[in-house]
């Protein structure tokens, strides 16, 4: 089993970055860092667009981040209807690494705003599916 295990709905199951899912299983969110030039990437990538190297290593994204923007969707594309309403957002972590994902649906509306401190937590969706979301730090 590989990358098709990532996300609420999977659209593509094959990527050289599939180890991402193994880290999720270990309760870790990881991006990639170029072993040659040090450029850091999230989402992870197998190839460095700065120096063209394919020598990538994994680094963990930990600690507190700050929410940059967010929305609560009340309509959804096919496959996500049961989740409505759900929140999406972008948060920034150390070294300017930005992460896109869902935001904890149990948080009250007034708590979710730009600048709020967030942390990432991994979610086991059952049936061997995994994802991550932001929750209040």
């Amino acid at each position: 089993m590989g990358f098709e295990q990532f996300g609420i709905v999977s659209f593509t199951g094959v990527t050289k970055a599939e180890q991402f899912v193994e880290f999720l299983k270990n309760n870790e969110l990881r991006g990639t860092v170029c072993a040659q030039c040090g450029a850091k990437f999230f989402p992870p990538r197998a190839d460095c667009s700065s120096c063209l190297s394919d020598q990538m290593e994994w680094f963990p994204i930990t600690g507190e981040g700050a929410l940059i923007s967010h929305t609560k969707a009340t309509f959804a594309p096919a496959g996500f209807e049961k989740d409505v309403p759900y929140r999406l957002g972008v948060a920034e972590f150390a070294d300017g690494i930005k992460v896109f994902g869902r935001i904890d649906g149990t948080l009250p509306d007034e708590a979710v705003k730009a600048g709020m401190k967030v942390k990432v937590r991994m979610l086991d969706l059952g049936e061997e599916r995994l994802t991550y979301e932001f929750t209040a730090a």
Binding site: F3, F6, G7, I8, V9, S10, F11, T12, T15, F42, P43, I68, S69, H70, T71, K72, A73, T74, F75, A76, P77, A78, G79, F80, D83, Y86, L88, G89, V90, I97, K98, V99, F100, G101, R102, K113, A114, G115, T131
Partner: protein, 384 residues
């Protein structure tokens, strides 16, 4: 740089469900543009066909269109940049002519969004984002633009009412546009009904899917002067791209691709934002129009709301924007949208815009965005 002129424009009516096939839909815009230019198929040296292929059942539509339009054996090209496909097509056709390769080229944009079922459409909607890293969370266009709206609100204090005023302007002019899909009068109260799609965007902040086609015919300077009574010249073209991933974005209050494209277009045209007499901007959502005011330099960052509050983007204002109703009223048939915007500006610069004519308009601008700021095209037109 060689001069390239627009010698003909055409557009089908934009409708919810076109009662014919894609070739017949395309022909409606083609016929109007060919009559407008007064040319015959054998005078067209090349065609550039634009659509978003996820809505097409037909594989390789350029070949089909070249045949149905009577444009065999001339070369044809297929160009796609989702919602800005036909502006990317304009850039391609401009290059074909400016290079000297062809003298007359046609840009055909079309989309029959009703070609696929609603369920199929919903499924494709989710794939408009990076399918590897973002679509698995349940992304869709309104949610992405909603994040920009929230970003703008938080940074500058813009309010939902400001976005409502943009929709109110759109409905004011949409009623006058007989090719628009949405021609009902709207009140601010109706617009602000809290029917959220993705907060803070509500139903009336979003444009509707539509079926439609557009056609623009371009010619070299010599041919344009020979064929057209009043050629409209392409003065500046800017195009830029930005990361498809939100994680790669450094701003959530403006579109970097639009800012970069505008800068290049203004430089090429040798004009300033204040020189623009009339503009068409990509208002797939109300927030997109508000950001366009700022990204194009019609207002300082954060000050876009003052333009709409003071009605400066109405026909009588400082810089009329989307006074054909924009995408919010016309509807947004992906591949045809840019060509429709270009048509409006060409008619304005020729003095043929009827009820919405801006008196003495000499310079017009088209801002056409693909995806949530993945592709930005800004095109500037002028008359002598």
């Amino acid at each position: 740089m060689a001069k390239v002129g627009v010698i003909g424009v055409g557009q089908s009516a934009f409708v919810r469900q076109y009662p014919g096939s894609i070739r017949e839909l395309a022909f409606e815009a083609y016929r109007e543009a060919m009559k407008d230019a007064g040319v015959k198929p054998q005078q067209i040296d090349a065609s550039v066909v634009c659509s978003a292929p996820e809505y097409d059942k037909q594989r390789t539509p350029a070949g089909l269109m070249a045949e149905y339009l009577g444009l065999n054996p001339q070369p044809t090209f297929y160009v796609e940049s989702v919602c800005s496909s036909s502006s990317s097509g304009l850039r391609t056709a401009y290059a074909l002519i400016a290079s000297g390769l062809h003298d007359v080229a046609l840009v055909l944009g079309f989309q029959k969004m009703s070609e696929i079922s609603s369920a199929e459409s919903q499924e494709r909607m989710g794939r408009g984002a990076d399918i590897q890293w973002e679509a698995p969370f349940g992304t869709m266009m309104p949610a992405y633009y909603a994040m920009y709206a929230r970003g703008h609100f938080e940074k500058y204090g813009t309010q939902e009412e400001d976005l409502g005023l943009i929709r109110l302007k759109s409905s004011t002019y949409g009623q006058l546009n007989e090719k628009a899909v949405f021609r009902k009068a709207l009140t601010l109260e109706k617009i602000l009904e809290p029917k959220y799609i993705a907060t803070p965007l509500k139903m009336m902040d979003c444009c509707a899917n539509a079926d439609g086609a557009s056609c623009i015919i371009l010619a070299s300077e010599e041919k344009a002067r020979d064929l057209a009574a009043k050629p409209v010249w392409i003065k500046g073209l800017g195009m830029a791209t930005a990361p498809i991933n939100m994680a790669g974005r450094d701003s959530f209050s403006g579109l970097r691709c639009a800012q970069a494209a505008a800068k290049r277009a203004y430089e090429m045209a040798g004009i300033k934002p204040s020189d623009v007499d009339v503009a068409e901007v990509h208002d797939c959502f109300t927030i997109a129009e508000l950001m366009a005011y700022e990204d194009l330099g019609f207002a300082e960052p954060g000050q876009g709301r003052e333009l709409i509050r003071n009605k400066e983007t109405y026909k009588e204002g400082k810089i009329p924007v989307n006074i054909d109703g924009g995408l919010l009223s016309k509807g947004h048939p992906i591949g045809a949208t840019g060509g429709s915007q270009i048509r409006t500006i060409v008619l304005q610069l020729r003095g043929e815009a009827g009820d919405i004519q801006v008196p003495g308009a000499k310079i017009g601008l088209v801002h056409n965005i693909g995806g949530v700021g993945i592709y930005g095209n800004v095109s500037i037109f002028g008359v002598e």
